[in-house]
Amino acid sequence: MVIELFCAATVLLLLSGVPGLMTSRSCCTGERVSAVMVVAGSLLGVGAALASFGASPVIFTAPWSVPGGGVLLRIDPLAALFLLPVYLVGAFGTIYALGYWSQREQPATGGRMRLFYGLLVGAMTLVVTAAHGLLFLVAWEVMALSGFFLITTEEMKEEVRRAGYIYLAATHTGTLALFALFTLLGEGTGSFAFPAAGALALPHLATPIFLLALFGFGLKAGIMPLHIWLPGAHAAAPSHVSALLSGVMLKMGIYGIVRLTSFFADIPPWWGVTLLLLGIISGVIGVAFAIAQHDLKRLLAYHSVENIGIIAIGLGVALLGRSYGLPLLTALGLAGALLHVINHSLFKSLLFLGAGAVVHATGTREIDHLGGLLGSMPRTALLFLGGAVAISGLPPLNGFVSEWLIYLGIFNSLESGTLAVRLTALAAPALALIGALALACFVKVFGAVFLGTPRSAAVSGAHEAPLSMLLPMGGLLGACVFIGLWPAALYPALSGAVACWSGGADSVGPLLADSAPPGALSATGVILFGLLLGGIFFLKRRGRGAAGAATWGCGYARPVPRAQYTASSLAEMLLSLFRWGLLPREEGGKVQGVFPRKASFATHTPDAVLDRLLLPLCRGAARGCTWSRAVVQRGSTCFYLLYVALTLGVLLTLSTLLGG
């Protein structure tokens, strides 16, 4: 039953864009049919995922004529947990697109966008359920390529094409590593089918397999310093696509690492330590880069790097728990990481959809050109605020719950008898720093975009988003509040997934509920909501008929919007603390003379890895190749005959040396 539901859902999703290709470009039947198909497919899929939480894993096999291939699907609690965000965000994104990227407004690109959107969502459901290396790689490639076509939806813009090519290069480099990874794995196990959890003992191949997985999957997940494709791609894609890419597709990389590490019977301690350190680096540097951004969507993209870092910290704690035989660390760390996977998919999609509504209404992504949108877009502002509180990890929303679990995992390492494990505790202040920086960044974003007074003419004419865009955002915020107020609802699913990962210990559920009681969080959340509503109601009643006045400008009677504190000035103080790593470029700003002329000032923070390291390296390599080609390709026949003769000579020598 589960497998039929799942297959029907996947077929519906994969084909959802096809009917639209056959309708006229000017009519909106195609987009409606596709929306209905995606929503129906997602509902079926959610049903399948929920049904497979309690039960034993569902397995589906079918023959496949490809040599060494086989269709082998397995839906276990771990896969089901990753399926949920795919369906949820996929469906909400489609509904959102009805208003945001409607066929009427975008006749040229709407059809192909929907085709690849459906393919991407469907392929991701196959990625997390495939239990066979070849099938996994095929699904992975379909996902990666649909991602490319979605990012380049607006291919007429140069910036978009550039982001698309960088993404394509990055994702194929990752796939190359995955080819090697599955070949090695197949070498070790004798077949391409995935081994059972905790069953694999490959003392010699384990290290290369883990390193390849870290590189291949890390490139997809966007772990620093492999995040190069991420900021550009997320900024260039349409917002609901960014939501899907950032909220869900990055998690496929995390899924890969989680699934792969589950195979091994013995996990060396350095795996956990590596992930922990990479997580801390991604978290701190990712959020620091986010603070430095002026582009709303690039900023959100860097926050994905930060959140992937938090997930990696949780995974690192869980791996250390496996290495040292500490089930409590494993349970808390992995449950926190997996819950953060779900949470991040919810609030990051919400924020990207909110950013899309802002871009749709104002036509700019530049934070310093916005301001005061709460007046014209009150509902979008409230929804965005919810997402901002959630992503800052603040109670009573969902982001806090997952970070809390990871913190508890870290703190429980203090009880261990090994000093190496106790050192894990030092990840806690790093996580606190990440949280505080994220809070600062979202104060800046929400304040500069929605509060104060409009900073440009584009903002003054902004309009509230239509219902088709507000509803998906509302649904996502509802899910955030639900998890924040009732985390106990997800504990069974989480403990099932943890048990599935660590090779089936049944005591995970009680362990988790005992060491991280969810009831207290619910109670605090409800009390907090009550107090806040009561307080605001009191102020509203008391403030009725209050006098209005201009904001106190220290005696300056005619304040102008340009005198407001900008997002850049808000971030300046924090950035000065991170100057050593961010290396921002500053232009202008020097005021000269007694009666200075008009001056301008601009700051720009290029990406440390892509813009400062990789692109110069590639440019150098290209220059070297050009030079060597000019030397070798001289255009006269005698040189080419010389090359042939030389090559033959070298080959003959080699063959006699090796063969003889």
């Binding site: 505790a425 202040p429 104060v443 104060g452 806040l532 605001i536 209050a546 006098a547 304040p559 919007p561």
Partner: protein
């Protein structure tokens, strides 16, 4: 549990405005003045809650949410910590993280409310507040790691519970460092000299006060009350750490705690009277130095 919660809340709600009063009196003593009466903050609150509002025309409901969150958070946080030997009413495993993040929530909304006015001064205040907190938060976490490691508990009640007196014997050096670090954080988080001067005249140099410039009437009262309660709650952690004794009788325990809080207020007053305000660029250096001290404390107990 309800009785204990009520006692906790009564102590918090009734005594918290006393702290700024005592600090003011101490500073007046050092300045050779008579100063306002110790109960002056109560009179101020009473006056403010009866006044009307003036709202800036640019502000929205976010502006009103700031004071509300600032008032609700310390009340909730107070239920998680022991007041001296009086046990916390609602402890649970992992509440130490909730304790820290609740204050984060208050910071988020206070700063957002400041930005809602569209004034550059309030923006400056918001930027400074969130920046300094980024530097203070790792210190609190490191201090809690020390307490958790020594006590083997993961709730504030367990960490600051009856076994605290023995822990001073086992890890006295670390706890001493933690005490100093938390005191510095207390000064920074409650905008006291040397980090911030609540009485300064120039908006350009303020941190916390400039964020709440535009609030008036009951909303301003809520902010002042919330700030006093925040100092009370953070101070209670410090006082418990410094005076870990229990007498076994409710009344004497309560009196010991109140005496400790008053002593803390006098100490803050002495610090404020004898130190100058730090230059703004020096504040991050002091906070990072404090973090390093807390890291030393952790290293001492981790081995």
């Amino acid at each position: 549990m309800i009785g204990r919660s009520l006692l906790h809340l009564l102590l918090l709600l009734l005594l918290s405005p006393l702290l700024p009063g005592v600090i003011g009196k101490t500073k007046a003593f050092f300045g050779g003045r008579v100063g306002p009466p110790v109960l002056q903050p109560y009179y101020d609150l009473w006056k403010l809650f009866r006044k009307g509002f003036v709202f800036s025309d640019t502000t929205t409901w976010v502006f009103r949410a700031g004071p509300v969150v600032g008032l609700a958070v310390p009340v909730l946080a107070a239920l998680l910590i022991p007041f001296g030997a009086l046990a916390a009413p609602a402890p649970f495993t992992g509440d130490l993280i909730l304790f820290i993040y609740l204050f984060g929530l208050a910071r988020f909304f206070t700063a957002a409310a400041a930005l809602d006015t569209g004034s550059s001064f309030e923006g400056m205040g918001a930027a400074r507040e969130v920046t300094f907190s980024c530097l203070a938060e790792p210190t609190i976490l490191l201090s809690f790691i020390v307490l958790a490691r020594l006590s083997g508990e993961l709730s504030l009640q367990g960490m600051l519970g009856p076994s605290l007196a023995q822990q001073w014997g086992r890890g006295g050096a670390s706890l001493g460092l933690v005490l100093v670090c938390l005191f510095v954080v207390l000064l920074a988080e409650n905008s006291r000299i040397p980090f911030d001067d609540p009485n300064t005249h120039l908006e350009l140099t303020m941190v916390h006060e400039v964020m709440v410039l535009d609030h008036s009437g009951p909303a301003l009262g809520m902010i002042l009350y919330g700030a006093a309660m925040k100092m009370f709650v953070l101070g209670a952690v410090l006082v418990r750490l410094a005076l870990p004794w229990e007498t076994g009788f409710l009344l004497t325990d309560a009196l010991l705690f109140v005496a400790g809080m008053l002593l803390l207020a006098v100490v803050i007053g002495v610090v404020e009277s004898t130190m100058a305000r730090l230059r703004l660029v020096r504040i991050p250096q002091v906070l990072i130095g404090t973090t390093m001290m807390a890291a030393f404390a952790v290293v001492l107990v981790l081995k």
